[in-house]
């Protein structure tokens, strides 16, 4: 089972079936009242149904067939909206279902004392409280979220992350957090539980995914207010048409006043049902897209904020550069051949299993054909790196070959009675200035030269940062390197700025500075020392592989633990907002055509002259009104895919993006209903339905 | 509430001081300067002929005698060109008839008939301003076309040559201000006063 949240087809059969059912369940007025726009539609549907019943008994204000048609399509409008929401929720629910399977009740061994070997009692995982200490062994499912106190074990976290490769969890450091529902593969762990039942990471994930605890985000509320205001305006504009029309009949001396059915139809067509109906679906779908990117957002607000990010703080190591430095050149001191230097450097690195050491061996082979040798066969003695000497090397045949940072080698050489040549100094400085790390190689008192190690910037980073820049986002690289090196890497990677020799305090300080300047800061982090900065950042993506503290501090968790994920997160946040804006514009622009359809029809009896406004040449007043109502209803399911997928975001400047979206959704929204209503009218006429 | 009481003093002071400045000092200052610099204009641009007030150059008067040039239609209360009628609470006024109001067509038709009755040869087209009511009901002007339309009638009624009357009209025709603002126009009262001077 790989319950990884995968990308689902838009209309999965099971989800659709469930959504159809839910569309009817959601007709409950208590549900509908939460969405003022759709509540108005519901009231309209009920009202027209009553009018239809009245007409059936022969006292109708209009032909029963006509009222029935309007009424049915109003019901459809409500149902389609419910369906859109249910679809979005259903997709989340399906996601949650797979997660829920991981949250089985398991038996846990609760230790009496916080150490391995303490006596324990068996309890159900549901009874565990924060602070309890449990023992988990190979084959056990970890009962709840916690922090490793003792032990080291490999854990399969695929239930959460979908990643099948096991991860190591151990006490202390950045790998101490374990998640409930994951399985211990080998060894044992003593874990202090950090979450009460129902509050675990898994629970929260399920809650978020299901949308059960979904609260409206600030921007959604603001948009809802605007939509409610428009609804009130239209309510008044249509309600006052009754007295206006009565007066028109009186003043004109002929004709009949507009019917309530027509007014309700006009009202429903005018109020922003398209966006009102799809708004919550858009929100849910935004969270869903996050999940598909394997990011769990702890709140909708965080997703929204992601769209606003102006500054992105990225750790250098692992994010911008490959985790390891690589040797790229041997630069000999005066009087030493490159070959000699390479040979010595290779010898010094043979027993060095660090990636840097390996890369020296590889470079020596590639560049100078120096084959790898075995330290043991050579009879050499390996001198490991210590914090005191800060060098490593070999002792072989009286040669004491050492490699290390220039200051430590200088101390070593001078200790051996030699001197550190000035030209090597300048080589060292030069390398540092260019973003490299110089490793000086010496044999006893003789400095042989310098190995240039270099950070390797990941492929395609420059392009991605360029894209961010076009989005209007400033990238800042965070590194522990000295400013010279940092500047060089920053230039190579194409970030806008860097923070060198970064400490947790410096990071926090930097975030605060940006925020004081009014900017929204996003950052990624995994270590406990990142937690304060994560808590301070507006959008904080914690790596799932990180510590519990980091995950608590972040408002999103990246299950892939991929630090460049922030870029996708930002795009998803923007996409969410754009979809809202685009559909709002579309919805309002639609109204123009609806006026041209309904106004001439509504007053045909009093002022037949108004038929001059019937630009679409609709067959009859009744067909015009019914066509407009049908279009208004059908546009909702037609736009469900767009609402669920989201409007595509392009990393171009704001002005270009606006022009593009205005053209598509503004102008498109203006034109589309003219064609749509006309087509429906043609169809109705052809079928002889009106 | 505290805010309300605290603000009461400045509200009262400002109202009093500004009433004094804008309601008393300002109009008095304007009146004072106007009296000295533009005494005629400030007091109604009265037309004085031989020491006698004959009307205001800016306020039209009713004419329906064929010997006089007629002004625009007037919809003022009581009688046409009634600039002040305290009894009926009426002063300047337009007809306020909508474009499709039958009463408008009737009023225009009646004017046309009156024009034709005074001069049977006067035929369509009728100058627009001559057959419609002005906005103020006190419009002192007609268009040159409206004057020209009446030249024959006035000349015949007064026994003057049309050329002589036309010349008088031309003398009393004002062009656009600075050649661009407003419309060319003829001051009816001045023209009629001038007509009475002829002989």
């Amino acid at each position: 089972m790989t319950p990884q949240p995968q990308s689902r087809p838009l209309f999965e059969r099971a989800i659709v079936r469930h959504a159809v059912l839910a569309s009817f369940q959601k007709l409950d007025p208590r549900v509908q009242i939460r969405n003022p726009v759709m509540f108005v539609v519901l009231v309209g549907a009920v009202l027209t149904t009553a009018l239809w019943l009245q007409a059936l008994f022969g006292r109708g204000e209009a032909p029963a067939r006509f009222i029935f048609a309007v009424s049915v399509w109003l019901w459809f409008t409500v149902l389609f909206t419910n369906f859109a929401e249910a679809m979005a929720e259903g997709r989340g629910k399906a996601q949650a279902e797979t997660l829920r399977r991981a949250r089985r009740d398991v038996q846990a061994r609760r230790l009496k004392g916080p150490r391995y070997g303490a006596p324990y009692s068996i309890v159900a995982s549901g009874e565990l409280r924060a602070g309890d200490v449990v023992l988990v062994e190979a084959g056990d499912i970890i009962p709840s979220d916690g922090e490793v106190l003792e032990g080291i074990a490999s854990v399969n976290e695929s239930a959460i992350t979908g990643e099948s490769a096991p991860v190591i969890r151990e006490s202390g450091g950045d790998r101490s957090a374990v998640t409930g529902g994951t399985t211990v593969l080998s060894d044992w762990l003593v874990v202090r539980i950090t979450a009460n039942p129902g509050e675990t990471f898994l629970d929260r994930m399920i809650g978020m995914v299901e949308g059960a605890k979904r609260q409206k985000t600030p921007n959604e509320i603001a948009l809802n207010i605007l939509l409610a205001a428009l609804t009130i305006i239209f309510l008044l504009a249509t309600a006052t048409l009754l007295p206006f029309s009565l007066f028109a009949v009186e003043a004109n001396g002929s004709g009949a006043p507009v019917t309530v059915t027509v007014l309700v139809a006009l009202l429903i067509c005018l109020i922003p049902t398209t966006i009102g109906g799809l708004l919550s679906a858009i929100g849910i779908a935004g969270m869903d897209r996050m999940i598909q990117a394997n990011v769990i957002a702890m709140s909708g607000r965080a997703v929204e904020a992601a769209g606003d990010v102006d500054v992105l703080l990225l750790d250098k190591t692992g994010t911008i550069t490959l985790g390891n430095r690589q040797a790229v050149a041997f630069i000999p001191a005066d009087g030493v051949s490159e070959q000699h230097l390479a040979d010595a450097a290779q010898l010094a690195s043979l027993a060095d299993e660090t990636p840097e050491g390996r890369s020296i061996v590889v470079l020596a082979k590639e560049k100078y054909g120096i084959r790898e040798r075995s330290v043991h066969e050579l009879g050499a003695e390996f001198v490991p790196f210590t914090a005191q000497t800060r060098m490593s090397g070999v002792n072989l045949n009286g040669n004491l070959i050492r490699k290390g940072a220039s200051d430590s080698i200088q101390r070593y050489v001078e200790g051996q009675g030699g001197s550190f040549p000035p030209e090597v100094h300048s080589i060292v400085e030069n390398i540092a200035r260019n973003g490299g790390t110089p490793l000086v190689v010496a044999d006893r008192a003789t400095v042989l030269g310098v190995v240039q190690l270099k950070d390797i910037v990941k492929g395609g980073m420059k392009e991605r940062f360029g894209e961010l820049r076009r989005m209007g986002i400033k990238t800042v690289m965070i590194t522990g390197d000295n400013p010279l090196t940092a500047a060089a890497i920053a230039a190579e990677a194409g970030v806008d700025d860097f923070l060198a020799e970064a400490t947790p305090e410096a990071k926090l300080q930097l975030i605060r500075e940006y925020q004081t300047g009014g900017r929204l800061v996003a950052m990624t982090g995994d270590g406990t020392n990142d937690a304060p900065a994560l808590a301070q950042a507006d959008v904080a993506v914690a790596m799932n592989s990180g510590t519990q503290a980091a995950r608590e501090a972040g408002n999103m968790v990246d299950l892939d633990s991929n630090p460049t994920k922030l870029i996708e997160v930002v795009a998803i946040g923007k996409q969410l907002l754009i979809t809202r804006g685009a559909l709002t514009t579309f919805s309002i622009a639609n109204d123009v055509a609806k006026y041209f359809a309904i106004i001439p029809a509504a007053f045909a009896a009093t002022y037949p002259q108004l038929n001059a406004l019937n630009l679409m040449g609709l067959t009859s007043p009744a067909s015009a009104i019914v066509s407009a109502v049908i279009f208004n209803a059908l546009i909702i399911p037609a736009l469900i895919p767009l609402a669920l997928r989201g409007v595509r975001y392009r990393a171009v400047g704001a002005a270009r993006l606006l022009r593009r979206n205005l053209l598509i959704y503004g102008l498109g929204g203006l034109v589309a209903p003219f064609a749509g209503i006309k087509l429906i009218d043609l169809a109705l006429t052809t079928l002889g339905l009106v | 509430m505290r805010s309300l009481t605290v603000q009461f003093r400045p509200a009262l002071v400002c109202l009093l001081v500004f009433t004094l400045i804008t309601g008393v000092l300002y109009p008095l200052l304007v009146t004072g300067i106007a009296r000295v610099v533009f005494p005629g204009q400030a007091n109604g641009s009265l037309l004085v002929v031989d020491g006698e007030i004959r009307g205001s150059a800016l306020i039209g008067q009713p004419f329906d005698d064929p010997r006089y040039f007629w002004g625009r239609l007037s919809a003022t209360g009581g009688h046409p060109y009634n600039a002040f009628n305290a009894g009926a609470l009426a002063g300047s006024s337009g007809s306020n008839l909508g474009p499709l109001n039958p009463a408008l067509a009737e009023a225009v038709q009646a004017r046309i008939e009156a024009l034709r009755a005074a001069d049977p040869q006067a035929g369509p087209p009728y100058p627009a301003d001559l057959v419609t009511a002005s906005g103020s009901g006190l419009d002192p002007h007609i268009s040159p076309a409206a004057a020209e339309f009446q030249v024959r009638r006035v000349a015949a009624a007064r026994g003057l040559s049309e050329a002589r009357v036309r010349q008088l009209v031309a003398e009393h025709t004002e062009g656009r201000d600075f050649g661009i603002l407003g419309e060319p126009r003829v001051n009816v009262l001045r023209l009629n006063l001038a007509l009475d001077e002829v002989r």
Binding site: N219, A222, I233, L236, A237, A239, L241, F244, F247, G307, R470, G517, Q575, I578, G581, D591, A602, Y607, Q609, A654, L657, L658, L662, G666 | Q7, A11, V17, T22, G23, V30, V37, Q41, N43, G55, A57, D64, Y68, G78, F84, N96, L97, G98, P99, L100, N101, I112, P125, P127, A128, D129, T132, S136, P140, P144, A145, D177, F178, G182, E183, N192
Partner: protein, 591 residues
Amino acid sequence: MTTIGWLQIALYLVVLLALVRPLGWYMARVYEGQNVGLNTLLAPLERLLYRLCGTRVEEGQSWKQYAVAVILFNALGMLVVYGLQRLQSALPLNPASLGAVTPDSAFNTAASFASNTNWQGYSGEVTMSYLAQMLGLNVQNFLSAASGMAVLVALIRGLRARTEASIGNFWVDLTRSTLYILLPLALILALALVSQGVVQSFDPYVEVPLLQGTTDGDGNPVTTQTLPMGPAASQIAIKQLGTNGGGFFNTNSAHPFENPTPLANFLELLAILLIPAALCFTFGTMVGDRRQGWALLAAMTLLFVPFVLLAAIQEQAGTPQLAALGVDLTASDQQAGGNMEGKEARFGIASSALWAAATTAASNGSVNSMHGSYTPLGGLAPLFLMQLGEVVFGGVGSGLYGLLIFAIIAVFIAGLMVGRTPEYLGKKIETFEMKMASLVILIPCVVVLFFTALAVATPWGKGALYEPAISYTSIYNPGAHGFSEVLYAFSSQGNNNGSAFAGLGANNPFYNTTGGLAMLIARYWLMVPVLAIAGSLAARRTVPAGPGTLPTHTPLFVVLLIGVVIIVGALTFIPALALGPIVEQLLMLGL
């Protein structure tokens, strides 16, 4: 339209726009408290006033205090206007011995002048004593305008503030608006108008002989004409500059004593839009980005011009009904032609249509021709300009703050479309602002539609039962035009314009009361949310602009802003307009 007509309109726009920069610059300096040259004269007076008020220039007010100050001040002013009207027969400076104004009319007029609407249910020359005109109406012409400007300045401070609690001091803004801006401009304009023949005198009404006698309705001979006098020029100057529009005489600026020559007409017309247009530049200067001000001015101008042209072209075309009677509608050097009903010969078509559009675009409401007699679409232009919410230039101060609210709505929708939560001038637009902005958009629409519906649905509104002794009903014209009259009246009062389709007999308790309420609601229920937004924005951090920020000074944004203004207005009022001017136009064309 004639070439000269086009030229008149073009000349007007050129002169207006040329004056924007100097006046806007001047006003910005005034509000920033910088020296503008008049300080030697006025600063001591200003200081004295503050001492009397017990306030200091640097003493800031929260938005709530500011709002209380505006409303309290306006309420006191309203009370004074009401009292002066009710007591005028017992007070001096009443040479025509006019009686007390009725309570409902006095309430309507007091509400009207305090709210900068200046709707006139009454006929000036036969209702108001000199004293009521001077101390009541004239004073409010200044102070209601200054109140609007003050609120705008408060909003500007809110937009540019960086986490501050105060949005300025109302008493200071009020004083500076009045002393440094309105008074000097009014003084200059008043004298220019007197030179053209606008009366300015405290003498009694003048009786002059008629050259040819006439008879009144009862057949009595009439040989004289009474010419009303009064301090008109001083009041007209401020009525135009302060977008008040309440005329000294009944027919307002169509009256030859109010607007005697085409040059006077041009100057008054200029005064109508002068301050609202220049305030855009003031705004740009004060927020430190003049492009923002130019963008708003561009939006206003682009919204304005099409309506000028619509009115001018329709009025010049006249109606087929007039043509059928043999009326010559063609324009020439000899006559203006077109629909001259309700227009003055000296102004002709272009100057009248331009005025109609300008006076309704700005919330001025003065007229130099009778809008009720316009062709249907010619009349739709001023009607719709008011229904747009008086934001196309709009009232002094209130127009720009109204447009800024529309800008906030536009930014909200556009901001979403570029994928950021919306911000304007670096201020995030959040729930509270949207709540308040929605109120600002909503209230005028509600007021206009509700009261119009009430009027056409009730006998009081239709006037059939009220005052049965009067032969005409309140709604004077039959058919669709009658509906337009009522819609126009409430569109005007519900947006604080004051212009009228004068065919409506509105001086009765029903229209006076509903209209008065409409004006008060429209003015203060908008002012308070605007100040609330100012306060909330002032307290907020400013987000620096970046490439991802939606620029609000570009042509694209101007187009979007225009779109939002038009769409909100159109969607709200199209159904009503369809039953009024639109169907009337179709009827006129015989379709």
